[in-house]
């Protein structure tokens, strides 16, 4: 500062060194930024890798070929009764389970019945019901293996178990294939028959209820606040409460639902109805905020033009503003619904964590949802459920990602830049 007019000597070694240091800092900083982005990308990739790695095997299951000779071990049942509604009961009490266990012991050697799933006889039962002729002879059934054998066959095992599985493989008795019951069945304690269909249907019903309530309410509220609401203390209060509701932890909505819907109104516990109502309250603020942004982006000239040719304020909004804002509203709604679909915490509190072995029949029957099924299976001790859990996660992620992709597609296709 002694001589402010002196020109800076850029060539001086001290200056050069300083510049080099500053540029190095610049490079370091940029690399740090890139590193942060890559690190988050790595987290995502690692998460997906672990889930797919674990879950891909969950879609398949190992079957053991077991010949059953019904001539040697007759199943005493009247063929005519097989068409009755209570045929399941009749076959069970005729002792099919014992026959299957005996056949497995005979075919697979000592302890053979332990190698197949305890529910394997139900598979035989449905095949018999489809084709009663099977009862008159000897035929080979592909029965689901027990979950220990299934894991050993897919991952390999050591010791006695490994030797046993290798022997079975050599005999050509083991086959691993795509496991349809995973998509057809509800929850069960046996990984061989546990499936996600019950949870999936519960999710669909729950989300349907949530959509039915949250979408109209949210859109109408947004229209009111954006188009008609006078600026006064009341509308301020509405606005503040919507903004705050959007940030309230989801578990608080669970407490609200427990206190109001279940203890006060006495609505059916653990049902898609209560779950849907809870999620509707949770998503409504999200839909309101997204809809308000979409409505805001419709230019005022549209409104002025409609008013100018004699439309009433209600006609302006419902004939012109709403259709133009709809793509944006739908995008926000789909994203909100995707969030609701992945939500677990509030539903834990309204009782949806119970074990439900049936596919829910209606909106008032007890049911579970897909994220809850994941949570329940993650607690199971049986190792067979580890891959089932990851498989269910893959299904959930695919559904959520396609919903989000649909939202992005809608936004890109229909969004207008005014």
């Amino acid at each position: 500062m002694s001589n402010p007019t002196a020109p800076t000597d850029w060539k001086a070694p001290a200056m050069q060194k300083r510049i080099a240091r500053r540029y190095a800092a610049e490079r370091r900083f940029k690399a740090l930024g890139l590193g942060a982005v890559l690190l988050s990308g790595f987290f995502l990739a690692f998460l997906l890798f672990v889930m797919v790695g674990n879950g891909a095997r969950g879609f398949t299951y190992t079957h053991v070929a077991v010949p059953i000779d019904f001539k040697a071990m007759p199943l005493t049942i009247d063929a005519a009764r097989l068409d009755d509604p209570d045929a399941d009961q009749a076959i069970a009490s005729a002792g099919l389970a014992d026959i299957v266990a005996f056949a497995a012991d005979e075919a697979l050697g000592d302890g053979g019945s332990g190698l197949i799933s305890e529910n394997a006889w139900k598979e035989v039962r449905s095949e018999i019901k489809a084709d009663p002729e099977l009862l008159n002879g000897k035929s080979v059934f592909e029965l689901p293996a027990s979950s220990t054998i299934d894991i050993a066959a897919k991952e390999g095992a050591k010791g006695d178990l490994g030797a046993r599985v290798d022997a079975l493989k050599r005999d050509g008795r083991l086959s691993t294939g795509f496991h349809w019951p995973f998509f057809r069945n509800a929850d069960a304690t046996d990984p061989a028959v546990a499936g996600i269909w019950g949870a999936l249907k519960g999710s669909v019903l729950t989300i349907f209820i949530a959509f039915l309530i949250a979408f109209p309410t949210g859109v109408l509220a947004a229209l009111y606040l954006e188009e008609y609401a006078p600026r006064n203390r009341w509308t301020d209060l509405i606005e503040v409460s919507i903004n705050n509701l959007a940030a309230v932890p989801s578990i608080i909505f669970g407490l609200l639902a427990l206190a109001v819907f279940i203890n006060w109104f006495g609505l059916c516990q653990a049902s898609p109805l209560v779950g849907g109502l809870t999620l509707a309250l949770m998503t409504m603020p999200v839909i309101v905020i997204a809809s308000r942004n979409a409505i805001k982006s419709v230019p005022p000239s549209i409104r002025d033009a409609a008013l100018g040719v004699g439309a009433s304020p209600v006609q302006v909004v419902f004939h012109h503003v709403l259709p133009l804002a709809l793509p944006g509203i739908l995008t926000g709604t789909i994203i909100g619904m995707a969030r609701a679909l992945g939500e677990t915490a509030p539903l834990l509190l309204v009782g949806m964590r119970a074990f439900i072995g049936d596919v829910p029949g209606g909106i008032c029957s007890p049911s579970t949802v897909l994220p809850m099924q994941i949570f329940l299976w993650s607690d199971e001790v049986d190792r067979g459920f580890v891959e089932k859990t990851s498989a269910a996660i893959i299904v959930l992620l695919i559904v959520l990602l396609s919903m989000n992709a649909l939202a992005i597609y809608l936004r890109n296709k229909f969004e207008k830049r005014w």
């Binding site: 987290f43 109408l220 993650s378």
Partner: protein
């Protein structure tokens, strides 16, 4: 909903010999009046058009508004009646059953009485095939007659209301009748009603939390929950010194506000800086949605990931470097995974704030010869700091309210420890634990969950209000 006036036909053979019960329920009735409303709509529209054609004068409102007017008069009163009737008729039916001679032998109070009544009701409505309790058998018949009777009263009254409303509206149709004004008034009322739902929800949350919490605080003093250091709730009567919330609050802060933020703030901020200042537009276009996928992954998936993969790895690491008390349910595992979940949130808030800094400040700094790095660190970030701070507060509020990750990965033992490899528990995890057991609803344990919920709600509310105020003030400064 079906617990209203519903007696559905049973398909089993157990009730042969009896008259089939009246088969209707609220949903069917709703469809019925919707159908009637459609007819009313068509009729109103046609009549207004016809009147206009006959008198040759112009209609004040277009025909469909007359249609809507009739349809609304037909639908609304009947629907309101249906809602009220569905909620009162079970009580009326039970009252009538109780006056029947068969009800004399019922126990006077308590669980057994209601069990017998509900058993008989289920059989009468065809939901169950046969009674489970022998005492309920004589009550089935009175239940059936009562259900039958009130069902018919309900149907008749509802139809009468619908027809009366529809006829009233229908006769008012004239060419100069201002149907549109009236329909629009109803539409406006509907819009106002929809926006009131938000206020109702807020009040519902506050009141339900407050009400249950007050009941809890009548058993356990507020000061114990807020300042007690020992947490070990038991069912039954509250024992002294078991509802101290400090270990929970500490666990929540350790996981959500310390560990998660140590992960999320640097990574989120640096990602935002890189994406806004350095990355090419095409890179930004692809990387940003990928980051947002992280925010879209359900929390239960993160929880599973934390419990299955991260927690065991961290425990092995801790054991290897000789840390005592290393647990498979460590605070660190839950905190790190929660931080990863929060990254996109922090990143997008920082992104917004940095973008809101006027371009002139950035240009000025670069023009003076500062490198981009110096511009960002000495101009952009200080200028964007209030917005970033607001974003971080929102992120903290989200992290401490997060439930599934901590339920699955952080464990349930309430330890007051600063060792991140030890197990701690959080407010949300304890709420879930307290409410998913088998205890009755009024025990101190379940009420404690609501008190914890109230604390959580107030803290997140405070964080949100402060954060939004900071963000808003900051935006105004540059606008």
């Amino acid at each position: 909903m079906s617990r209203g006036i519903s007696t559905s036909l049973d398909a089993n053979g157990f009730k042969t010999g009896r008259n089939p019960p009246v088969t209707f329920n609220a949903a069917v009735l709703l469809l019925l009046i919707l159908g009637l409303a459609l007819i009313g709509w068509l009729a109103g529209r046609a009549r207004s058009a016809m009147l206009a054609g006959r008198s040759g004068s112009r209609l004040h409102s277009r025909p469909q508004y007359h249609g809507w007017y009739v349809a609304l008069w037909l639908f609304a009163p009947a629907a309101i009646f249906l809602a009220i009737w569905s909620s009162v008729s079970p009580g009326l039916i039970t009252n009538q059953v109780l006056t029947s001679p068969a009800a004399k032998s019922l126990p006077a109070f308590g669980f057994e009485r209601s069990a017998i009544l509900s058993d008989a009701r289920e059989v009468a409505q065809g939901k169950a095939a046969k009674v489970r309790l022998p005492a309920a058998a004589p009550l089935v018949e009175p239940y059936e007659t009562a259900t039958h009777r009130y069902a018919w009263i309900g149907i008749a009254a509802m139809l009468a209301l619908a027809l009366a409303g529809g006829l009233y509206a229908f006769t008012r149709i004239r060419p100069d009748f201002r149907a549109r004004t009236r329909v629009e008034r109803i539409v406006m009322a509907l819009l106002l009603l929809a926006s009131l739902v938000a206020i109702l929800t807020t009040f519902g949350i506050v009141l339900s939390l407050l009400f249950e919490s007050l009941r809890f605080f009548s058993l356990v003093p507020v000061s114990e929950l807020l300042f007690g250091t020992h947490w070990n709730p038991q069912s039954g009567a509250p024992v002294a010194d078991t509802f101290g919330g400090i270990p929970l609050f500490w666990g929540t802060v350790l996981i959500g506000a310390v560990i998660a933020m140590i992960v999320a703030i640097p990574i989120g901020m640096m990602s935002a800086v890189y994406l806004t200042q350095y990355a090419a537009p095409t890179v930004r276009k692809w990387v940003k949605p990928c980051l947002e996928i992280l925010a879209g992954v359900p929390t239960v998936v993160y929880g599973y990931f934390a419990a299955l993969t991260v927690a065991p790895a961290l425990r092995n690491f801790a054991v290897a470097i000789g840390i005592p008390n290393a647990s498979t349910e460590s605070a660190l595992a839950a905190g790190i995974v929660m931080g990863v979940m929060i990254i996109p949130f922090v990143s997008s808030m920082a992104d917004d704030s940095i973008n809101a800094v006027p371009q002139a400040m950035r240009d000025g700094s670069l023009a003076l010869g500062a490198t981009p790095n110096e511009t960002i660190r000495q101009v952009l970030i200080p200028a964007a700091l209030p917005g970033v701070m607001g974003g971080i507060l929102l992120a903290v509020s989200r992290a401490i309210g997060e439930t599934m990750i901590v339920v699955m990965a952080a464990g349930l033992s309430a330890n007051l420890t600063a060792n991140p490899f030890a197990s701690v528990t959080t407010v949300t995890a304890q709420i879930v634990k307290l409410l998913t057991g088998d205890q009755e609803f009024d025990s101190a344990k379940t009420l404690a969950a609501f008190a914890l919920g109230l604390v959580l709600f107030l803290v997140t509310l405070l964080l949100n209000i402060v954060a939004l105020r900071i963000v808003k003030k900051y935006r105004e400064a540059y606008e």
